[in-house]
Structures are given as C-alpha cells and as structure tokens.
Amino acid sequence: MTRPSPRTVRRLIGLALLVAWEAIPRLGILPELFIPPLTKTLYVLWLDRAIYAAALLVTLYEVAVAMLIACGVGILVGAVVGGVASIRNLMLPVFSSLYAVPIVILYPVFTAWFGIGSESKIAFAGVYGFFPVMLSTAAGIRTIDEQYLIAARSMGASLPQLIIRVIIPASIPTVLAGLRLGGALTIIGVVVSEMLTSADGIGYLVTKNRTTLDSPRVFAAIIVILALSVVFDLAVRWIERRTLIWQIAGRRERPDARTSRGAMPAPATA
C-alpha cells in the first residue's frame, strides 16, 4: 500500500476539523456560545449576507488602499535604504527597532488624527504593513550578488540599465516575500483597528456581535476574514508563480525538467 500524499492528508485533516466544528457543539461537548455549529454559522451568514457583504466591501476598500500605501512606500523607502549605504547605516537600525514595537499601541493616536472612519484604519494598517515590505526590499537589494553587477558593468550597462535589468529582477523574490508578509499584516491591521474603534467593516461586526453574545454571527465574521486572508495568500502565490518561473523551476525535481524537454538535441557533456 502506498502512503497517501501530503496533499490528501492535508485535505483529510481539513475535513476532520470541519466535521469536528459541527459535531462538538451538536454533541454538547462544548456550549454553542463557545463554538456554534458550522451549519448554524453558515446559515446566519446567509441570512445576513447583505450586512456582511457591505461590511466586507468597506474592509476590502481599506485593505486595498492600505496595501497600496504599504507596498508603494515600503518598496520605495526599502530601495533607497537598501541601495544607498550612507542612508542604510543611518536608518536601518532605527527601522529594525521600530519593527519590533507593537504598533497597535499607536492606534488611539491614529484615531485622534484621522477620526474613527476608514482613514484611521488605512493609516494604521498602512504603517503596520510598511515595515516588512520596506525591510525585505532593503534586504533584497542589499544581498544582490555583487558578481551580477560587475558582469553587467563589464557589458557596458548604465546605471538605469543596471537598476532595471539587474537590480529589480534580482530582488523580486525577496520583495515578493515581503509583500506577502506585509499584505497579511495589512489585513490584520485593518481588522484589528475595526475591532477596536469603528462603526463599520468586518472587524466591527465581530466586536458588535460579541457584545451581544451572538456567537454564530461572530464566527460568521471570522469565516469571512479567514476567506479574505486565504484569497490574498492564493493571489500572492499565483503572482509568485507567474513572475518567478526561474526560481520555482529550480525547486522542482530535475527529471521533470528533463522529460518535458525530451526533444532537446544530444547534450554536451561539459
């Protein structure tokens, strides 16, 4: 008997968790206040679909703008910090330390500055997501193999050509890793700030329904947030696959690459 593939096992575990989610409250192992059954949660989600959709739109809008800020400013600042040694030596220790600060303590300040509407969420989540993007962009640029740059210069590359044809493609893998982390933090930032002080968004629905002990509706909101995170992750993976063919292909087994190119002429041995 062959061992089941990790993917099959993963799916089975997922299925088991869903079954447990339904069974545990139904069997009375845990009260429904702690965990409402899955079907009940999905049912209220369907009942209140208009409310959840409207809240999701608000959250999506905030996440989108915050990501744009976090990624745009993060890449820009990261490129400068990574590329210019004097600025790097001056700023990198500061940024690295700031990254360790739980920025959520600043959220009250953000509400004071930007009010309790979307602006404060966007600003807070943008700052939250900015650091990993900035730091990984800086790292990506700083760790480029010097040989790539020397070779390009020996072939007569100008500085703009060096940036466009070597530095950017060489740093894409690290930058994408940062975008993935930064994007996820942006979602967290938006949801957390909505939970703290807000009148709208999915995070607000969690807080509001929790105060009324309406567990199914709290879990319905959690499901929406989970779905949002999963979709984001899938999207980033898809982008990675599209842009990093050369890297992903490198991780693949060699025989695979060979059979798919079986029509190749006899290889030179050296």
Partner: protein, 268 residues
C-alpha cells in the same frame, strides 16, 4: 633599404599590441593604511595571443584583470587596448568571462547571451541570430531556452563565453573561468576553449591557479609575485598547436610546469 623600412612600418602597424600595459601600479586603501597591490606592471600582448597569468593568491591578478576590463582604475600607469586607452568598460573591445557563472538566473541561456546587445538596444532579430550563432560556437546549440539552473557548471561557463564573445571583441579576458568545475570538466573546457579560440582568433588573457591548465592553454605564461604583484617571469610555451592531452605527459610540458612552480614557490 627603402623597401625594408616600409616593410617594418607595415609590420609595426599590424603588431599594435592588442593589450598594452605600461607602468601600471595600484595602491588601495586598506584598514591599516595604503596597501600596494600592483607594482610597475608592463605587459604587451600581441593580437591573437593566448596569455595566461599565474601567481599566488592575492597577488593582484584579478585586480589587474578588472583594470584591463575598465572596471577598476589603476593608481598610475596606462592601459591601451587596440592602441586606445581603456577608461570604462567597453564590451566591443574587451569581453569578460568571470569565475563563477555570473549568468542571470531569471534569463534563459539565449537571453543571457543577448544581454550585452540588449543593453545597446540592438534589433531583436539581429541579436537573436548572433546569440544563436554564439551558442552554436560554444557547443550549446538547442539549449537556448534553458535557464542557468537547468545547465551543468561546464555548460554555464560555455554560455558565459558565448556572452563574452557576443560583441566580437578582439580581446577576451577570463578570470579563473573553470575554477569551480571538476577536474574532468575543466580539462574538457580548456580543450573547448582552445577550439573556440582557434575559430575566432581572439586575444585571450586568462587567469588561473592551475599550472597544468596554464601550460596547456598558453602561448605565454606570465608569472606574478605575491603582493605587491610584479611580473617575475614570462615563459614562452613552445608546445605545438593544436594541443593534445598527450602533451601533458611530455618532458617539455613537465619542465615548463616545473619552471613556473619554482618561481611561485620561492616567493615567500
């Protein structure tokens, strides 16, 4: 008499050295003050020659090569290539092949070879045709769509050589191009390089640590001293061409190898 003078004038023109280094010295700023790296290097390489530079580690061989490539400025002295000074990298005059495969992993072999012409915005068809011709020259016809990680170490260096020859420069500089290869591949690649060289009539300046490789490849071996690097000896390699592996077993080969070793060894 008049006739003779004319003859020599003609010969002088045709014998303009491909590489002409005069009074080259280099000092770089180290942690404990100025470090002399190269001292009074004079080197003339006639067109079409295969010159190999050997010397102990840290003797400034690579620095010298970087200067020949226009990638680094010497403290003093002049470097002429084809009779004109080299102030900055000029891939149409000097092609460079580096030690490690410095190919770009995000580009296919063909795109890597095309890179120098892409920088010059050469028409797509022209550079593709040229790159395919170069890949064929180095024995990699049909491998153009592969990414570097899909190629063996030797194949990667073949691609690097193709890339160095892309703009048909009269001079090809090679910085320990086969150092990372295993012994068998290294021998094969040395032999392949001689074939490519004989088909393209380039002037080659080649750096290596391997004395066997040096004697096998070179018309002339330049022996450098430990830092500050000076030229200790220039040894003409009188082995006939084309070179064969059997020559490595000859007395002459052994004596030449021995003579180089003596000089490098006696340097403290």
């Amino acid at each position: 008499m008049q006739h003779m003078a004319n003859m020599s004038a003609v010969r002088d023109v045709s014998l303009t050295p491909a590489v002409d280094v005069r009074g080259l010295s280099h000092v770089y700023a180290g942690r404990e003050g100025a470090v002399p790296a190269l001292s009074d290097i004079a080197l003339e390489v006639p067109a079409g020659r295969f010159v190999v530079i050997v010397g102990p580690s840290g003797c400034g061989k690579t620095s010298l090569l970087m200067m020949l490539a226009g990638l680094r400025r010497p403290t003093s002295g002049t470097i002429l290539c084809d009779g004109r000074p080299i102030a900055k990298p000029d891939p149409a005059r000097v092609g460079v092949v580096f030690q490690e495969a410095s190919l770009y992993p995000w580009l296919t072999a063909l795109d890597n070879v095309e890179f120098p012409l892409a920088l010059k915005h050469a028409p797509r068809e022209e550079r593709r045709a040229r790159a395919e011709a170069m890949l064929k020259l180095v024995g990699l016809e049909g491998f153009g769509t592969r990414y570097p990680h899909e190629l063996s170490g030797g194949m990667k260096q073949r691609v690097s050589i193709a890339r160095g020859l892309m703009q048909d420069p009269p001079v090809l500089l090679m910085d320990e191009p086969f150092a990372a290869l295993d012994e068998q591949t290294r021998m094969t690649m040395g032999h392949e390089l001689l074939r490519i060289w004989s088909q393209t009539s380039k002037t080659v300046v080649f750096i290596t640590h391997s004395l066997t490789e040096a004697v096998y490849l070179a018309d002339e071996v330049i022996v450098m001293s430990a830092r500050p690097g000076r030229i200790l000896d220039r040894i003409a390699i009188d082995l006939p061409r084309p070179r064969t592996y059997q020559m490595m077993a000859t007395d002459l080969f052994g004596r030449l190898r021995e003579r180089i070793w003596e000089q490098i060894r006696t340097v403290p």
